[in-house]
Amino acid sequence: MTQNTTQELLILLAYGELSADERKMAENAMAGDPELRNFYQSVLQSKQLLNTIQEEPHPTTLAIISEHSHDSHTEAV
């Protein structure tokens, strides 16, 4: 397995997209390779940092959507 493929496997691991067998394979690859462990840690850190961005729509936007939905219900009736 190339280094890129293994790193991609670790990204899938970090995002919870591996089966039990694949997870085991990724963990075994990391056990014998400190560079891969570092890479995995950096992915987890990046994930944590990315989580600091979380945006919400303005309440007015939500109110307009609700109003539209309500109006289209009324029209249908």
Partner: protein, 194 residues
């Protein structure tokens, strides 16, 4: 006792039977993921508000006209609409003069009641937040799209591949490069600050 979680499909069914609050629950459940994704894709808060609104107006129209049937895949479907609208807006914007907006959309007067130390902390946090946002925007468009859809929209790589019409391995590869490039930009900015 924890309240049972009603599935998106069940909420859609109840909504179509006339229960308006079911749509509000659905929006409340997914608004942050959808809005953050739109915002990062178009990089403009006001435009993001418009696209978010238009996305849900389309969602409502499709639901009421009976065009939507895949009840268990509400989020990927809504995100597909949001993504297509975002791409349309980006194309339009490319032909228009640049729109300058406040990326944070914060009320500057809200600082007035805050103590000096916490105000400083807020400024630091906002600067870090703005830098990260800036780094994401510097990524090549294909990498940024996969990063936003995987991390913020929480779609699987398979769903992203279906949505964008790319091979799943291409999507994973783009995510790989996006993370590497983000890391490099962050390290560079730390070195520059030092």
């Amino acid at each position: 006792m924890q309240k049972p979680i009603i599935s998106d499909g069940a909420l859609l069914k109840v909504y179509l039977e006339g229960n308006e609050s079911a749509l509000e629950t659905l929006i409340k459940r997914h608004k942050s993921r959808i809005f953050t994704s739109i915002y990062l894709l178009v990089n403009d808060r006001y435009l993001a508000e418009d696209i978010f609104q238009e996305t849900f107006i389309k969602v409502i129209q499709c639901l009421k006209s009976g065009k939507y049937r895949d009840e268990d895949k509400f989020l990927p479907w809504a995100l597909r609409i949001a993504r297509n609208l975002s791409i349309d807006f980006i194309r339009q914007k490319g032909r228009m003069p640049g729109i300058v907006t406040d990326s944070e959309g914060n009320d500057i007067f809200s600082f007035l009641d805050i103590k000096e130390e916490s105000r400083e902390q807020i400024i630091i946090e906002r600067e870090e937040h703005a830098s990260l946002h800036n780094f994401i925007n510097q990524l090549p468009a294909e990498q940024k799209e996969v990063l936003v859809l995987r991390h913020y929209a929480d779609l699987s790589f398979k769903e992203i591949a279906e949505m964008t019409g790319n091979n799943i391995n291409t999507c994973i590869g783009r995510m790989h490069y996006a993370l590497i490039n983000l890391r490099k930009m962050m390290q560079k900015s730390v070195v520059e600050i030092k």
